[in-house]
């Protein structure tokens, strides 16, 4: 099967630190790939390259077999790749609806939209409300409240909902449950499964092994800036995975 997203030989250096050291990556259609690794292993750097937030020093990315060169997250979004970054990437002073539609705002129909470029707030708010409640992620009193008035968990939820609502080809989630409570994490996991059932493949970065083993179809183990191996959660235990990732055990041939 041809991977939908494929990366070869990615290199990214920050001064003396080599965050990505000739790294490869594959994502097959319809699957959930989890990326695990120690702190600082380079997981976030990898997905930043895949989502256009960082331009690699070397290497290339193929989407559906085509070579793509993303020079900004917008390029990747235009290709249907949506990302929830570890830092969430929200504008605190703007409303939930504004944030959900940032960079892909809807305009009013007719002259108001085409000439006066007026936003169709009503429609955006409705869609935002629908998406949030459809995903069952949370009850928001007011879709127009500023994101800064939400708790960390609520913010996390909005970011995930945004990606799920707009991602058509690939959805990337960088530690989406790190700040979440038990209940909230659970919702996100369900959401991930929902999305896959819609046929959209997902890249999930997480430090939570039980979650990873629960939802992932394959696990990409990242170590020292590169792919160490890819394992099937059905063939290995969590202990194995942790042992590979920390270097306690020799990894299987990739």
């Amino acid at each position: 099967m041809e991977p939908i997203l494929k990366a070869r030989g990615l290199v990214k250096r920050y001064g003396k630190v080599t965050a990505l050291d000739n790294c490869d990556f594959d994502l097959n259609p319809g699957e959930i790939v989890a990326v695990i690794g120690d702190n600082g292993a380079g997981k976030s750097s990898l997905i930043k390259v895949l989502s256009g937030a960082v331009i690699p020093d070397a290497g290339h990315v193929l989407l559906e077999g085509r070579k793509v060169r993303f020079s900004s997250p917008n390029d990747a979004r235009a290709e249907g790749i949506e990302t929830v970054y570890q830092t969430l990437a929200m504008s605190p002073a703007l409303s939930i609806a504004d944030n959900m539609f940032m960079g892909r705002e809807l305009r009013k129909p007719g002259v108001m939209g085409s000439v006066f470029r007026q936003l169709d707030r009503a429609r955006m708010e409705k869609i935002a409300r629908d998406k949030l409640s459809e995903l069952g992620l949370m009850t928001i009193q007011n879709i127009n409240q500023a994101v800064e008035t939400l708790s960390g968990g609520q913010r996390q939820g909005v970011a995930v909902a945004r990606a799920a609502a707009f991602g058509s080809k690939v959805i990337i989630l960088d530690e989406p449950t790190a700040a979440l409570g038990v209940k909230e994490s659970r919702r996100v996991l369900e959401l991930i499964l929902d999305v896959r059932s819609r046929g959209i493949p997902i890249i999930l970065i997480s430090h939570n092994m039980p979650h990873v083993f629960e939802v992932a179809d394959r696990i990409h183990v990242h170590r020292l800036g590169k792919r160490l191996c890819v394992i099937d959660p059905k063939d290995y235990t969590m202990s194995d995975a942790v042992a590979f990732m920390t270097g306690a055990k020799e990894a299987p041939a990739a």
Binding site: A53, A89, M90, P92, M102, V182
Partner: protein, 362 residues
């Protein structure tokens, strides 16, 4: 009793429809409504201060102040600062600052005048060239900020000196007289055209407006619309709020910044045109304090210097507050030095009141 096999997550599996977090809806008191109003419309505080000061001076001075004549005079006096402050607001909303606004306004007006009189270019084209020049300088600022990633304060500090010096070198410090403009190129004074409402038989007293004042109001209304109701406006706020987040969430931050500085340059060039209307002549020495005055208006109007928060209407009210105080204090008999001192106090007090109201209301 606890052990790691306990599938505790199953507990929450069922309750999918339930609320994760909700705000208590109790105590929706008057205070709450005030707070909500303030959040939705941050220009309310300066509006209250403005109305308060108009009423105060009205009570102290009677009809001398509280007349259509005096009140519209204030509008005329703040028009240039008001237009420039609208441009400044845009830049400050992106967490920038523009110290070159005054210099851009002046060089644009000089270009309009010199092209018409020195090179004999038709006045309509000269005006267009002046507007273009202002826009171009703004875009250079924007490019240096967005692409070269230099701090706006420095970029516009340098540009201020460059443009001002270029202005003096180019104009050779020559003033073009009002009377010449009136006879040969009246279009340059277009924004100074006056019309009166309610004047007496001799055309005295009454409310006096100029096209420049109307233009100022139009700029404010237009920008308020663009900031609130277009994607570009949302991007301006997002860029000022957190440029990295904005970039990651799909805003073209570079383009947004360049457009903001460019539009600011254009508006300043219009201010330069309005300046010709106001002072009649083209004078390269005008507008030297416009940067400080415009920043003052923006800040009194409640826009945060850290970007992303505030509204352009606030700036408009901020400019009017300074105008009201200046004229009011003069009419009360404060001399020039005292007025200058009291405006300093006003600047600090206005911002303190703003902070206080927000804190009490929050």
């Amino acid at each position: 009793m606890s052990d790691k096999t306990d599938d505790y997550e199953a507990v929450v599996q069922a309750s999918r429809g339930e609320a994760v977090a909700d705000f208590s809806k109790a105590r929706a008191s008057a205070l709450d409504r005030v707070q909500h109003a303030l959040h939705v419309n941050p220009a309310l505080v300066p509006l209250v201060v403005l109305l308060g000061s108009i009423i105060t001076f009205g009570l102290l001075l009677g009809t001398k102040f509280f007349s259509p004549f005096a009140l519209t005079l204030i509008l005329q006096q703040v028009q240039i600062v008001g237009i420039v402050a609208a441009a400044q607001s845009l830049v400050i909303l992106t967490a920038g600052i523009d110290l070159s606004v005054g210099a851009i306004a002046v060089i644009s007006s000089v270009i309009m005048g010199q092209f018409t009189f020195r090179y004999g270019v038709p006045v309509e084209i000269s005006v267009a060239i002046g507007l273009l020049a202002g826009t171009a300088i703004g875009c250079v600022n924007g490019w240096l900020v967005a692409v070269m990633k230099l701090p706006p304060f420095i970029v516009t500090l340098g540009m201020w000196q460059i443009v001002l010096a270029a202005n003096f070198l180019y104009s050779a410090n020559e003033t073009i007289r009002s009377q010449e403009i009136e006879t040969e190129a009246p279009l340059l004074q277009f924004l100074g055209t006056t019309f009166k409402i309610g004047a007496d038989a001799d055309g005295r007293g009454g409310a006096t407006f100029t096209y420049g004042v109307i233009f100022m109001v139009l700029v404010v209304v237009f920008l308020a619309y663009a900031l609130r109701h277009t994607a570009w406006g949302r991007h301006v706020y997002a860029t000022g709020d957190d440029p990295e987040a904005a970039q990651l969430s799909g805003v073209n931050v570079k383009r947004t910044l360049i457009s903001v500085y460019g539009v600011a340059g254009l508006i300043c060039a219009f201010a330069g045109w309005a300046l010709i209307g106001r002072i009649g002549s083209v004078s390269p020495t005008s507008g030297q304090l416009l940067n400080i005055e415009s920043i003052t208006a923006v800040v009194i109007g409640g826009i945060s210097l850290f970007g992303g928060r505030g509204s352009i209407m606030g700036t408009f009210f901020g400019a009017l507050i300074v105008g009201v105080f200046t004229l009011g204090l003069r009419l009360l008999g404060a001399d020039a030095q005292w007025t200058y001192l009291l405006i300093g106090v006003l600047i600090i007090a206005a911002v303190a009141v703003d902070q206080w109201i927000r804190k009490v209301a929050a």
